[in-house]
């Protein structure tokens, strides 16, 4: 089997492996640390949320993309 064929077959698996081992070293939201006081707009542009204001509540923070 040619190397290119092998790479084509295992490529998706390698990509999934990268996802499973997320590089946290440059992330602002790191397990074990406090959530940063980052203020972001909502996707409709009508409101803002300061992550620091969520203190005192149990929060699930879901980072995702519609794709």
């Amino acid at each position: 089997m040619r190397l290119s064929t092998t790479l084509a077959l295992i490529g998706p698996l390698l990509i999934e492996s990268v996802h499973a081992n997320q590089d946290w070293s440059v992330s602002l939201v790191q397990p074990g640390e406090a959530l940063p006081a980052l203020v972001l707009p909502t996707i409709d542009g009508k409101a803002t949320v300061d992550l620091a204001d969520l203190r005192g509540k149990k929060v699930l923070l879901i980072q995702f993309a519609s794709w």
Binding site: R2, L3, S4, L7, A8, P12, I15, V18, H19, Q22, D23, W24, S25, V26, S27, L28, V29, Q30, P31, G32, E33, A34, L35, P36, A37, L38, V39, L40, P41, T42, I43, D44, G45, K46, A47, T48, V49, D50, L51, A52, L54, R55, G56, K57, K58, V59, L60, L61, I62, Q63, F64, A65, S66, W67
Partner: protein, 424 residues
């Protein structure tokens, strides 16, 4: 995400749990449509610059009452065990150290005292861009865009600058490209910036996906926005008005991935082989080309030949000119270098439903496949794609209308970036 939405419904409705989404997409309107379609009720925040610094999505983090992010990965298949019975019943952890925050002052400009006082110009520029679509905040005009882009470019080029700044500069360029203050070349510069950032930090999958969104099918992990039509149809059938898509979807954003670009087997006929058609000497139509390279060029581990790309063409009327919709769509003829492959040589641009609107066309090219049993051949880049666009255009209101041709060249260059960071 719909699964998380459903699984957390009871906890959310009882007030025991708050769920917040964050999307790193360039265009928030698409995620807004997705949330409407999926019935997602929790707030979703827009982070196009990836200020949270996530390397990939999806990521679900559990944050306790003390603001501490719980260690360990959450798995939606084990939500009862991990969240409902486990983490929800756990007392808050001792507050840990605050995460690193390179931009502590990313706040709405209307409350930007902290950002101003910090003196960080890049931070202030990002604030202006991020909040420019938010109700009550400053809308950017041409001068403001030029100002923030110059600031971000300087920051990105500074010695020892974090490659995230280069990514941010690219996001800002694409924002201007999508605005009425667009400058020719903004999209290409955005892609160049993203590629340069990714070259420094190849493990950054948020940045990689931003390029792949507009990249060749050979580089697509999945279609990005092929769900949009189904979402709109479903919402309309249910009697709802779908949230509008502000920036039209490109073909690249709808295309599925593939492992092989089809070998050219359609014998197209050149519309003007003798080059007899009158050329557009008055430049009634501006032709802008943007090359989106395969992200494999940032890593020598991927054996995709350098130059494999998707090329975006825009034909934009200038100086009062306009297309004549009744004349049909523009055609584009493509000539690739010897040995290169493209699925078809004769392209049809999008139809001119609006006379003043730009026409779009996309195509993909792939250099000769390397023979891995032999020493590397000479580099395939730079390479030049040549072509001609054919269109029916009218000079202005009541002016002359005629078929014209415009020859063009597209240079495909190797990306420029500094060596990867160690350990990234």
């Amino acid at each position: 995400m719909p699964v998380w939405h459903e699984k957390t419904r009871a906890l959310r409705e009882s007030g025991e749990l708050v769920v917040i989404g964050i999307t790193q997409e360039q265009h928030p309107d698409r995620c807004r449509l997705y949330a409407q379609w999926q019935g997602i009720e929790w707030p979703i925040l827009w982070d196009p610059f990836n200020l949270t610094g996530s390397a990939a999505v999806p990521v679900v983090l559990a944050v306790d009452e003390a603001g501490v992010i719980s260690p360990g990965r959450l798995d939606v298949r084990r939500i009862e065990e991990q969240v409902v019975e486990g983490w929800m019943a756990t007392p808050p952890a001792k507050p840990g150290p605050a995460a690193r925050r390179p931009y502590p002052g990313i706040v709405p400009p209307s409350t930007r005292a902290a950002a101003r006082s910090s003196g960080d110009k890049a931070q202030a520029a990002l604030s202006r861009l991020l909040w420019s679509r938010t109700t009550g905040e400053e809308r950017l005009d041409g001068a403001a865009y030029a100002d923030v882009l110059e600031t971000l470019e300087k920051a990105a080029l500074a010695p020892e600058a974090d490659p995230a700044l280069t990514f941010h500069h690219g996001v800002a360029l694409r924002m201007r490209y999508d605005s009425e203050h667009r400058r020719t070349g903004d999209f290409q510069r955005a892609l160049d910036a993203w590629m340069a950032a990714l070259g420094r930090r190849p493990s950054q999958y948020i940045w990689r996906r931003r390029i792949q969104q507009w990249g060749p099918r050979l580089d697509k992990p999945y279609p990005f926005y092929d769900w949009v039509e189904e979402a709109q149809t479903t919402l309309i059938a249910a009697g709802s008005v779908p949230h509008p898509i502000q920036i039209p979807l490109s073909g690249a954003e709808l295309a599925s991935g593939t492992r092989e670009i089809p070998i050219r087997n359609i014998q197209n006929i050149h519309p003007d082989p003798e080059a007899a058609l009158k050329r557009d000497s008055k430049h009634l139509i501006e032709l802008e080309s943007t090359v989106c390279l395969h992200t494999g060029v940032t890593s020598k581990r991927v054996r995709e030949p350098a130059g494999s790309s998707r090329i975006h063409l825009v034909l934009r009327p200038t100086n009062g000119a306009h297309f004549e919709p009744a004349a049909g769509p523009a055609k584009i003829w493509i000539d690739v270098p010897s040995g290169w492959n493209t699925p078809r040589q004769l392209l049809t641009a999008t139809s001119p439903t609006d006379p003043d609107a730009a026409l779009l066309a996309e195509f993909e090219v792939r250099p000769p496949q390397p023979d891995l049993t032999k020493p590397p051949a000479s580099p395939t880049l730079p390479a030049t794609i040549r072509g001609t666009a054919f269109y029916f255009v009218c000079e202005d209101e009541g002016g002359e209308c005629q078929f014209l041709a415009q020859d063009f060249e597209i240079l495909i260059r190797a990306p420029q970036f500094d060596p990867p960071e160690s350990g990234k």
